[in-house]
Symmetry: D3
Subunit: 247 residues, 6 copies
């Protein structure tokens, strides 16, 4: 496994700029709808909310972090300074990625505070997502690292959690996340796009968003929903005509 002490972490495939551009303009609501059409119902990370009200949307590959529960014999000074520690992970986190931490939904200990977030920010991480809590909220805010979490808690991670590794498959907020999956974050929370489905989402979701924007205008003009959304054949024709006119 690549996260053995001393071993280099497998390089993360960079996210194609054109894919990033499309995803940055898609809401997580649109992405979950596109994934549902591909049969995926469980892609939204329960409990992860942004700590600032007005972050722009964030897109990046997942760099996974995994915790298990605390056991007093594991929370030793040696473990904190071992290579298999959060420190070790932060020192190799790749630029542009989104750190996704499986805290098993534990919210009475903060997984990271200002120092670890500052280190991630320095290395160019795009954001932090967790189903757990962060600590030292004011300090984390000051680092400028966009953060989606399930609360804030003063106690250090070792009161509730033991770090065990990175870039492993994890569960986060009831969702399976694999290393290098694509994560998108906005005001509706955090969603995962499995690597194999990124192309499909990029292809279909923007079209659906255009259609929904057109529907919204019709609704604001007073149109009934029945026949409009989901669209009847007539509605589809009408939309296509509108599109042709527009182009």
């Amino acid at each position: 496994m690549s996260n053995e002490p001393g071993a280099p972490t497998a390089p993360m495939a960079p996210l194609d700029p054109s894919i990033r551009a499309v995803l940055s303009n898609l809401s997580t609501a649109s992405i979950t709808m596109a994934l549902l059409k591909s049969g995926l119902r469980n892609v939204w990370i329960r409990g992860a909310r942004s700590i600032e009200p007005d972050y722009p949307r964030v897109v990046g590959r997942a760099f996974t972090l995994r915790f298990v529960p605390a056991r007093e014999d594991l929370a030793t000074p040696e473990s904190l300074s071992s290579a298999r520690s959060t420190r070790g992970a932060m020192d190799v986190i790749p630029e542009g990625c989104i750190a996704v931490a499986d805290a098993m939904g534990i919210t009475d200990a903060g997984i990271f505070g200002d120092i670890l977030c500052a280190r991630m920010k320095y290395r160019g991480a795009a954001a932090l997502v967790t189903d757990g809590a962060v600590r030292d909220l004011d300090g984390v805010r000051k680092t400028g690292l966009p953060t989606w979490c399930n609360g804030v808690a003063a106690p250090p991670s070792v009161t509730g959690l033991t770090f065990v590794g990175w870039q492993e498959p994890i569960g986060c907020g009831g969702v399976a996340i694999f290393p290098d999956d694509v994560i998108v974050l906005d005001a509706d929370g955090a969603v995962v796009i499995p690597n194999s489905l990124v192309d499909q989402v990029v292809k279909t979701a923007p079209h659906a968003e255009v259609f929904e924007a057109w529907v919204l205008q019709r609704v604001e003009e007073g149109r009934k929903l029945m026949g409009l959304y989901p669209p009847s054949d007539e509605t589809i024709e009408e939309f296509q005509a509108w599109q042709r006119e527009r182009s």
Copy 2:
């Protein structure tokens, strides 16, 4: 039942303007106290919070919406466009009512997004209340529909919920709501006033609010609470004298 496909929804009795005026000036805290005096302890919808910090109080009759859990065979395109769909409900929702949606407390799928909220807004619905989540928070905000909900979630309703009807008795946030009950919404959340108790609340609660405002002034002047609140006979006399002077 009035919500059969094609059937008209039973007209909703308009809320008397004088009643609306009184209730618009009563806090939900005062209303729950008045209902407790009538023996009702379970009238506050657990989990429903406003998505904007500064809505004015909203008052209206309940237009109930009911969901059951999702089952993959039910979430078909046909079901979404059938007359017994959320779309069908939104197309008949009466002006001035408050849509109250029983989402069984499920918060990992959004019951409505911008399009359905825009439709409700267009038809003149006064607000939306649910023990579930909404999706596309930014879009919902833009519609201007006052919304009290139990969170925000990107996934569409069909990932977790199946719509089954409207204007039926429902549970919402652990409270029974019947069609046409009166709902009041403010910073303390959402409360239901059963139709048969509206007159009593309107009669007794404003007086209690005046008394409590008088008590608050006394407290700010340094009076002890014992004997003041709840009031001793002397306090009642003192209050009544104050009232007589004032009128």
Copy 3:
């Protein structure tokens, strides 16, 4: 017991001004870390969040309040006006203390509204903390009493809770609180410092905060975490040199 009807409450030992000064400059994150080093893992009150975003840190001794569940035969007018009532407690609450209310995590009834908070404010209470909810949020805000709670709920306390006494040992948010323990409140929530450990926290935590601030600067300059935090012997030397230079 000191809270028998008519009996005076035992006087609360004033908090030494120098201790107060130190604690006012320590984050709850630093305090929990210091307590962990003394073997205490369970000192953060789960669920207690501030109702305003920008309170300054609050420090004070705990004045405990205890509720048990509601039982209809106990919620009588007599009980509300008895000496063993919340009113009785509010009338003796000492200046500078922090009221800590054990509401057993019940969040569908508000323990206090504007009148009781105004009384606490008048008597000089420094803050209110609870694992339950408050009611009449707008009114509570107007009193100016800094409040950390687990939500807001319109219904009065008697719909869910019965008050049974004050200055007894309590549980609050899963933490044991004894009368006169020291409480510190900030953006990360509420923590208790057991009386016997206050001196130790005051002695060790400020030093740790200085070190962490120094670490943060190093991280912002691009230093690796391994060897820095937790510090290797070289790092400790480097920090001590920096301190000597600075003094």
Copy 4:
């Protein structure tokens, strides 16, 4: 709606005896596997366990019952004796059906005791399933009505629940149940087979059970699982040969 006071309940289509015979020999584990192959993941009623350890498997159509939360103004003597009451439902429940009660997972009030269960038993109901509790466990046992529930509670239903109707779509244990769906009960709990999928389950599941029994024998003989289960092409051939020999 058919359950208006005085109106006859729509007759329930009898369950074909050959279908009943097949389902009585299929475990709920096999049925959920067959439904998963048809894309259904959410068909097992959470929380419903049998009150006796050794009931034989029960199969029948669902007769749905729906509760909403209790509200003190609704729990009147009039409501209990109205036609839209549990009593009304019990008096029309069809022979051979399985009563499925949506209690919203509330387990601190018992939905039925001995009298209502005795009435169901007398009318020939095959079983009772609920995500709530029953009361008077000893009495319910004596009626002989097979019962799957989520606990036992002494208090009467009206302390927590209000009955609102029957043969409506419901949620039970997080699963959608429609009137006349087929229910199967055994030691693994309660599953629903949507009406439209009964034929498919009956066709495919028995074959899968034969295969699994054959696999189990191989495992007991010491065969490795890899290649055996799920089967490789060679394993499929081997199984088919075994089947040919046997027939």
Copy 5:
């Protein structure tokens, strides 16, 4: 307070033998129904189940025990051997009472094991009830002390709980219990009868049980529920005639 170290516990009023005799023949289901008629809805201790399937009904006055959460500085050898310890409480527990322990619903530590249960048994305690867990299940069973609890857990109480006193008002399973209230235990769990309502329950509930037994017979003969239960005037007359004949 009477449970100060060294102070004698206030003597518990013995339960009148005639009251005990009546209550021993009333099911907890009947008692909760009687209390509901007196306006009490919250008298059943959530989570408390018997550890043996076939205890006879137990009746006794409540001897309350109170825990708060564990804090490492409180779980010292000194605290365990102090007079305000579970040991101190067990040494004064009165004959015939039922120990009711408020464990705040914590079920991952056992409040008592065989030694403390043996001590209670020796002193003649009638039973133990808690919303927490016991430990050393086999040992507890051997003591013969009838026990209703919310599970079994190996860890000692101090891993999760701190004992703080006895014969104080407590919450147990979401219900308020005051010292000397009457507790009844059977297969449906544990209910509290407030002291002031014992006479009323004893007077009304037996009559209701006779009526319900008569109703059950009618149901077994095939009578409809409508008009029978709740009874119409004709049914009441018929029942009274049956009673007259019988006497």
Copy 6:
């Protein structure tokens, strides 16, 4: 990592027979007490209960299994037959070990049924422990594999879970388990003894059990607990005298 497809699993150090002998005579209650004295409070696996009432105590090294949540794209036939599957794990599970499965507390899908349990039994596994559910309860019972789990559920694991590996650190029931830790199972549930603490438990716990047995006898003779348990100096002397006599 040793559990890569095709790679051999690292051999598990056999458990010393003398250690096994001592642990087989120690209750999990005694073990948790011994571990608490070493500072470990979190060693009992929440939710794991035995499916049969009368298993003898089981002792063995942990063979860990790890699941993450289900995602529809992962639950493919290919994944089930891949080397990194539950099948792959079952085919290498060592004799005498206890399989400990991290199911993240998910109890609405069964992790294993009869076939996988039969395979484990055939290979000589001593028991299965999980914080999740098993399926096909009757079939699992027939395999004779002692099983401690958090319920029974009909649906197959893939409806809720994705298997990701074995012999990795896991969380199970809120406890950290590392490969080769020692597990002990009895009527009080499942506890882990970290490898580094096994010797200490084996050395101290038996002595404590002898003392407690002696205390229990004294309690049955009517001795007070104060001074006896925890013991005063006199009690310790008395016990030591008793031991000397006995030997």
